[in-house]
Assembly symmetry: C2
Homo-oligomer: 223 residues x 2
């Protein structure tokens, strides 16, 4: 039997990850207030870890503090989404180019598995989750911690936006799914080829394509 390193996990971290999952999943309506005492009571901890988690979530864009100091779930507007997309148009090409330089075989395997899974996706939530995971692996393979930090914040906010638009359970069209699969396949191949510039260019196209895809899905909310 091999012993593995014991890692102590703080309550604040548990609260943070639980809260971020809950917020992204839509457990709290947009604009609703998160009171520290009530969260602390619900989670069975004191206010201190809750407070620390909220500070972290604020910097990640999953909650915001109003002028009175109350914590609220932000109501993401089209302008917010535009901000996010503008940043992604700058970030994703960098991620792809770094991946082209540093990615290893196991990354490719994971990306292939991800694409295979995407072919079975039924809802927008499935595609979204798999897409986020796909880009997660690309970003991580680039080995740039600061880039990862920036990306993870954007990713969570996109997920939150999907939830707030009530798009999570909308069925996807074959065309949307196929488009995603094709796009990811191309991205994977160019990264595997190891050409940073081509990878960056294609990643930019990928994001731009996704942005253009949005109106078609937002046009019919409540699938």
């Amino acid at each position: 039997m091999s012993l593995s390193r014991v890692r102590r996990v703080s309550l604040a971290h548990s609260v943070s990850s639980q809260l971020s999952r809950a917020i992204v999943a839509g457990d709290f309506p947009a604009g609703s207030q998160l009171s520290e005492p009530s969260l602390a009571a619900t989670l069975g901890v004191s206010r201190a870890p809750v407070r620390e988690a909220l500070i972290e979530l604020e910097l990640r864009g999953l909650v915001e503090f109003d002028p009175q100091g109350h914590t609220r779930v932000p109501t993401l507007t089209p302008a917010d989404l535009q901000e996010i997309h503008a940043l992604r148009l700058a970030i994703d090409p960098l991620a792809a180019s770094l991946a082209a330089e540093h990615a290893t075989a196991d990354v490719f395997a994971a990306l292939e598995a991800n694409i295979a899974a995407t072919k079975d996706a039924k809802t927008l939530a499935d595609v979204s989750r798999l897409d986020a995971d796909f880009h997660d692996r690309i970003v991580k393979s680039g080995r740039n911690r600061r880039l990862m930090l920036c990306w993870s914040g954007l990713r969570d906010q996109v997920e939150l936006w999907l939830t707030q638009m009530q798009l999570r359970h909308q069925a996807i069209t074959k065309r949307t799914r196929q488009q995603t699969v094709d796009s990811h396949n191309k991205l994977l191949e160019v990264i595997r080829s190891g050409d940073p510039k081509q990878a960056a260019a294609l990643a930019g196209d990928h994001v731009a394509g996704w942005i253009e895809l949005l109106p078609t899905v937002t046009a019919v909310p409540k699938g």
Copy 2:
């Protein structure tokens, strides 16, 4: 007389800004441990606001938590600087293109004043501060909060790196200064022209130029 909104400023915010200034200024040696009790005693507050400030500083990259939970001033390596520069190569063009779309007359005035001040810069610290301010205004004029957040973190870390390299008081050559002035002038003009694509391209060149400039100043530390 016009009344401005009274903003209550929390101790945590004061601690955060004081600490970030102190860290960037080099008051704490690289790698040194920041103990909460001692900081709290020095600042005359309890540990709670100090803790909150440290969490914020960690997400901004000005401190890091080691596995034991101790807070340390990160020792920025060349690899860190490379990470930062890679991100800036992606971020700055976006900032410039947004500025080209949204910047107003007062921004141009401020940028002109900044360039004028740069002509009198004596040390690398001067140039660095003015350069950071120059880009600050460009980023802010783009009206993308998420971009501003990302940028401000990078800016502080670059400042910290300059401090750790003991480059702050190094005299600058006329050539370096002139190069900065010329580059900023060109950037200002292309932003003023309102062409986002050109602005983005030029901003990328600007960052790349600055990166290439670095070896020449790091080659002779301790001016």
